[in-house]
Symmetry: C2
Subunit: 227 residues, 2 copies
């Protein structure tokens, strides 16, 4: 299959509005779309002034987060293969008044639909607007979930939940992640995470060694989270 | 003006999609819409299983909040005259997976567009869907604002901000609100609020007396919030 046919195939399978586009719209999209790769840790989108367009993840893993003036972070949601990052074109969306950051957590490859193209498609095609509305509703649900965690759940449960999630995402029980990095994800300080992890170690749920956290008792961690 | 003409006038001015409705859709809406009053403190919407429809606030003030299993609350946003409460029909919206509560904070009057009617309009009219998308984006922005406050801002700033906001909403400097109620709004415990208010009193920013909080130094409160 040629590269362009692969692109068409991928977009067709990934963008729910693809089949509602007329021929001219499809041609416009294919002519203007580009593909870019990101190293792990590389920034993809920085706040509202940065209005590149719609990113469609081909491979890898992106993290969307908010950043305080003092550098504190909290993760809102992650994007995996075939996920669409709509907030990086939020400048053309009415009523979006907040700023998010997006960075690659692994080596990632993504298609970019430039803002100007996305705006043209959105203006002319109701299916594109319906897709955007679904995406925003889905992101609102993600953010509400994080909010409920932050407001209602104690940090031990949030940390247990985070570690178990990472095991699923990474598909292994030995996590190579720094305490600093976990703190950023959960919007707290490194010292707080280190203290909690040591408590988990004392309780024989995890084993800490230089640069890694080994999950040794998932059932006990889950129980902490469930209660 | 007759009652029905008043209703038409109000809806015309409030619903941005009104002029995009065809005659049959307008007739359907007017035939099915109802008006209801709520006492202060009365519940209007309770979570996702409760799918009454779209509320359009005529007069008064509604509060939207989330509620934990243990009864902890945090306010997401308020609705005033001419605001539309779209999350009370979230059952028909794709990708909305969270539950919110809505209650009247003052005596309020609201129009109800039943879910079945709203769904029919939304299915047949793209302007109604665009309106819903704008609303959801706007609510996402509200929620992100609260999230940034909760995660990044210390409680003294959040409390100062809350008190100043209440002065604007109530249009007076003597607030009749319980510490319990403030705690619910900010997602914390009553004792924490009482302690912080006493600190504010010592700093001569507020004066506490039975059942009221008198704001005596707005500039000092603002300064706390700005820094």
């Amino acid at each position: 299959m040629t590269e362009i046919n692969k692109d068409i195939n991928f977009l067709q399978e990934t963008l729910p509005f693809w089949c509602a586009l007329i021929e001219g719209e499809k041609r416009l999209l294919l002519a203007k779309i580009s593909r870019k790769t990101f190293e792990s840790g590389e920034s993809i989108h920085q706040g509202g002034s940065d209005c590149t367009g719609l990113w469609v993840v081909k491979t890898g893993q992106l993290r969307t987060f908010i950043l305080s003036e003092s550098g504190k972070e909290i993760t809102l949601f992650r994007l995996f293969e075939r996920d669409v990052c709509i907030l990086s074109s939020s400048c053309i969306m009415r009523n979006i008044t907040f700023e998010v950051q997006v960075e690659a957590e692994k080596f990632s490859e993504a298609y970019l639909i430039p803002t100007s193209v996305y705006k043209r498609l959105s203006d002319s095609n109701a299916a594109v607007r319906d897709f955007a509305a679904d995406m925003i509703a889905s992101r609102l649900s993600d953010v509400m979930w994080v909010m409920e965690q932050v407001v209602f759940m104690s940090l031990d449960k949030r940390l247990a939940n985070f570690l178990l999630e990472q095991c699923i995402i990474e598909d292994k029980d030995v996590l190579t992640i720094t305490h600093e990095n976990i703190a950023k994800n959960l919007g707290t300080a490194r010292e707080v995470i280190t203290r909690m992890l040591k408590y988990f170690q004392n309780e024989e749920m995890v084993l800490l060694s230089r640069g890694t956290i080994i999950i040794i008792d998932k059932r006990k961690l889950s129980a902490l989270f469930d209660n």
